[in-house]
Symmetry: C2
Amino acid sequence: MPVPLYQAKADFFRTLGHPVRIRVLELLRDGPRPVRELLGEIEVEASNLSQQLAVLRRTGLVSAVREGGSVVYSLATPDIVDLLAAARRILTDMITGQGELLAELQAEAAE
Amino acid sequence: MPVPLYQAKADFFRTLGHPVRIRVLELLRDGPRPVRELLGEIEVEASNLSQQLAVLRRTGLVSAVREGGSVVYSLATPDIVDLLAAARRILTDMITGQGELLAELQAEAAE
DNA sequence: TGCTGAATTGAAGAATTCTTCATATTGCTC
DNA sequence: GAGCAATATGAAGAATTCTTCAATTCAGCA
């Protein structure tokens, strides 16, 4: 398999590796939104949000259209929802696993 | 929604944001493998591979057991396969989209 | 015990990514 | 056109992550 493919996949995941960008994608799951609205829900400076939106745009995960005085963002493909769901599943498993581990440790300590 | 949750998700994706780590996960999709074998398939130094395996271990994406003289790695949860599949789907869409765009641009240039 | 192969760890400099601030662009509205 | 609100961009220092090299651990075996 070609090396650049792994690089592309890694780059892709890396663009998801930022809390603001994740938050944006999750908000856009419910439909398109203007920047102003995103800004209202994410506690971050406007210029910082713009930077993160630019990253998402460059990667092609979102698209933006100007509507009057504002810019409306939306998910480039609904497949992103599946990806986020898969990630949530894994995280849930992992946290559950840790919970069990914790329970075991506590039981052990109580002996 | 709690902020640390987004941080956790971002951290999670960030651990996937490295070509060697992606490669390892894809190799482990087919079943457990000793480090020596991974090393045979990925063109990288042993110590570098170890570093990346350590990252995957810390995040809980893989688990390792010692078997005699070697250490065998495996996926912590099969859900990871779904995640990689979802990512592949999105990447395919994106590349297809670019292909179409390229085709359009070429048609335009030929006018 | 001492050696060897397999894998990991620690640490330092290089490279990349983040955050922030200042400045620029764009389209309203007067 | 001037002023204003919304968004984007550029650039610099701070913070994080990568790569590499040397040193270490650990099991198995002579």
